[in-house]
């Protein structure tokens, strides 16, 4: 967590050849608030200046739960040329991509057009973000791949955005957030899954977002730590909804990635789903197989923030129950709870599992052959 690098360590890193890795959760930022304007119609530029984004939460600026650090990001990640953390490609290359030998970096832009009550504005902003990802990032560094950000509450327009980008090798997945107006299995979101399946793109579900629901089933909690820990509960409920609404049954080639919400909870959720399904399957006849089977076949997990039990054997148990083939290494750069690649996996992992964890699983899932 929040490891600070000293200058001499950075200088020393090119001397050692590190094994190549994939980083499946990188957050690119805008240098200035108006950086998207070239990709937005004049109408929306004016709209933003007068009315703002009108989200499903009350704050005009910033998050309802203040982060622990500015922009929830590392204090050493400000680019020397100015701008917020994560806004400079050159500095990202110097601080993250080069020293860690990142071969594949998946971009997951946050603060996009998602979670906005005006669905037309949502679609326009998402489309702009997608153009911006190509211009500012993926066209300038071939290691980086983008996520198609979609207006999450309007299924048909989201599906249209996916179809427009389908086949463009700059993009490797569709991006949703975990907290929406309804649980993610609901049919308003099915056009997104259908279009993603047709395009052969996984759907990543990143923690965060606001959909107008209290972020616990008992209302709004007090603290940022509750929101942070609560992402794993939100993700569990979203995944349970996906399974129990029959999304995986209806879209059998759909692949989904649970991003930045932990994975230690996955085995117990699967056991609970299976047990409840044995009792209550007459209510959900469209769920034809034990829920854990769909999850085993169609769901992947990014690793950051890494599970951190006292005993590494406990960690290995959980990974074994999920499958070494289902985890995707991620740093969450430039956020404060960044996972440093060399420190994430304890000793005692076979070479094959280590390679799969850091690189192989991601390349296979995202169709990167090089």
């Amino acid at each position: 967590m929040n490891i600070q690098f000293r200058e001499n360590q950075e200088a020393a890193s090119p001397l050692t050849v590190k094994p190549a890795i994939a980083d499946c959760d990188i957050h690119p930022a805008r240098t200035t608030p108006t950086e998207l304007y070239p990709y937005l119609a004049k109408r929306w530029q004016h709209h933003l200046e007068i009315y703002g984004v009108h989200a499903y939460q009350g704050m005009m600026e910033g998050p309802p739960y203040p982060k622990a650090q500015p922009n929830a990001s590392r204090r050493d990640a400000y680019p020397p040329e100015g701008g917020p953390q994560g806004s400079s490609l050159a500095f990202m290359q110097k601080q993250l991509l080069d020293p860690n030998n990142v071969q594949l970096g998946v971009l997951n832009p946050l603060n996009t057009g998602q979670g906005i009550r005006n669905h037309e504005l949502s679609a326009a902003l998402c489309s702009a973000i997608n153009d911006w990802q190509i211009d500012k990032w993926t066209s300038k560094d071939k290691r980086l791949k983008a996520s198609i950000v979609v207006g999450n509450e309007d299924g048909p327009s989201a599906a249209a955005e996916i179809r427009e980008r389908a086949g463009d090798k700059n993009f490797v997945q569709v991006l949703l957030l975990s907290r929406n107006v309804e649980p993610l299995g609901q049919r308003r979101y099915w056009p997104i899954y259908q279009a993603a399946e047709e395009a052969g793109l996984p759907v990543g579900v990143h923690a965060f977002g606001f959909g107008g629901n209290p972020i616990t089933p008992s209302g709004w909690p007090s603290y940022y730590i509750e929101e942070m820990v609560g992402h794993s509960q939100c993700q569990q409920s979203a995944l349970a909804s996906l399974v129990l609404e029959g999304v995986f049954e209806r879209f059998p080639k759909l692949k989904m990635v649970m991003i930045e919400a932990g994975f230690g909870w996955a085995p117990s959720l699967c056991w609970r789903l299976d047990k409840a399904w044995q009792r209550l399957r007459s209510e959900v006849p469209h769920v034809k197989r034990p829920p854990s089977e769909y999850i085993r076949e169609q769901v992947w997990w990014t690793t950051q923030p890494m599970e951190d039990p006292e005993s590494r054997e406990d960690l290995f148990d959980v990974i074994k129950w999920i499958g070494w083939d289902k985890l995707l290494f991620a740093t969450d750069y430039p956020h404060w709870d960044y996972d440093e690649p060399s420190r994430v996996l304890p000793a005692g992992v076979s070479e094959a599992n280590r390679e799969a964890f850091y690189l192989g699983n991601a390349k296979k899932l995202y169709g990167i052959t090089a």
Binding site: P183, P217, G219, R272, A276, D308
Partner: protein
């Protein structure tokens, strides 16, 4: 399955109120009149639809009436065959769904009096939980104090999904009273449905509500720990009832990690979350969400790093297991004794 031992404590059984009209003798004239004049219907929560398979084991389901409404059946199904010393009654009647604090207080009072008269008076093995009207903290505390002199009431009962997170300071007078009167707070599965039953909104199905109970318990534990309830009330015990067990260790890894990262936000949390759980939080055994292989189960208990966290329960009449198989395979005789006898006694001072 591991062998049961005699003299155990069943920490979660559910006597059912046959109908709202069953509470009429325990209501005053005004509320009796309200119930009848307004044509109020039975308070059955969506958390447990009466005919849902999970609400009653097939061989525990009566031909007529609600599962759990007959003392004779409870004796025949659990008290006798499991050779229990005590069973703690946790009524799940839907009084928490009521919005009016006056009506809720009247119904809770009636429910607690009904439990004492129709159950605790009729079988000396039974113990009770005090159901409280949380729409008014003042009335909730008053109800705890009213019932507490009857030592057969051994805990206070709340639902895992209510109006606010359970750690919120407004609720602390409840915890103060409970600690003072040696009453653990039992937090039971179920929702007042005053908020959507998941943190991502309303699901379509009963099964989603049921699976979601575990996530609700997780967010409540976070709230209770980070708000500082156990720093303020160090002797207070809380028991998570029908919460599931297999999520505890990975949940705590995550809470611990974030506590280390942002503890400056809640500096009064002066012990690691796992330590707080070890000293103040317990969990009922059923439902035990885990695969049947003993080696997995043993590892799950090792992940918890404590043999004191789990308390025996059948969750009668809910359908969590068949036959006498309340204890999962692979538990050692020592652990069985702790779960069935030692841990419940260490948790509930009033069982002495």
């Amino acid at each position: 399955m591991a062998s049961l031992i005699a003299g155990g404590i069943d920490c979660d059984v559910h006597p059912a109120v046959p109908h709202l009209t069953s509470l009429l003798p325990y209501l005053n004239d005004y509320w009796r009149d309200q119930v009848t004049t307004r044509g109020m219907v039975d308070l059955i929560s969506q958390s447990y639809p009466q005919n849902s398979p999970i609400t009653a084991r097939p061989d525990w389901r009566p031909e007529t009436g609600k599962p759990g409404e007959s003392l004779a059946a409870m004796q025949r199904h659990v008290l006798d065959p499991f050779q229990l010393k005590h069973a703690i009654c946790n009524p799940l009647y839907g009084v928490q769904m009521v919005f009016s604090e006056d009506m809720q207080a009247a119904f809770c009072r009636a429910l607690n009096d009904w439990l004492a008269k129709e159950w605790l008076d009729r079988d000396a093995r039974l113990r009770g939980s005090i159901v409280i009207p949380t729409q008014s903290i003042e009335k909730a505390v008053a109800e705890i104090e009213r019932c507490a002199p009857d030592k057969r009431f051994v805990q206070v009962l709340m639902l895992v999904m209510g109006d606010t997170p359970l750690g919120k300071r407004a609720l602390w007078p409840i915890y103060e009273a409970a600690e003072r009167l040696e009453l653990p707070i039992g937090i039971h599965a179920g929702s007042a449905y005053h908020n959507p039953p998941t943190a991502v909104g309303w699901g379509s199905y009963h099964i989603e509500d049921y699976v979601g109970q575990a996530q609700a318990f997780q967010t409540q534990l976070t709230s209770l720990i980070v708000e500082g309830v156990f720093a303020k009330y160090p002797r207070l015990k809380m028991v998570m009832l029908e919460s599931g067990v297999s999520w505890i260790a990975p949940y705590l890894w995550r809470l611990h990690k974030f506590w280390r990262g942002v503890r400056m936000e809640t500096p009064w949390v002066d012990r690691a979350p796992l330590e707080i759980v070890r000293s103040n939080i317990r969990f009922s055994l059923q439902p035990f969400d885990a695969p049947p292989e003993p080696e997995t189960l043993i590892r799950l208990f090792e992940h918890m790093q404590s043999d004191e966290l789990v308390l025996f329960s059948t969750d009668y009449p809910h359908w969590q297991f068949d036959g006498q198989d309340a204890l999962p395979e692979g538990l050692s005789p020592d652990l069985v004794r702790k779960i069935m006898i030692d841990n419940p006694h260490a948790t509930y001072p009033r069982l002495k």
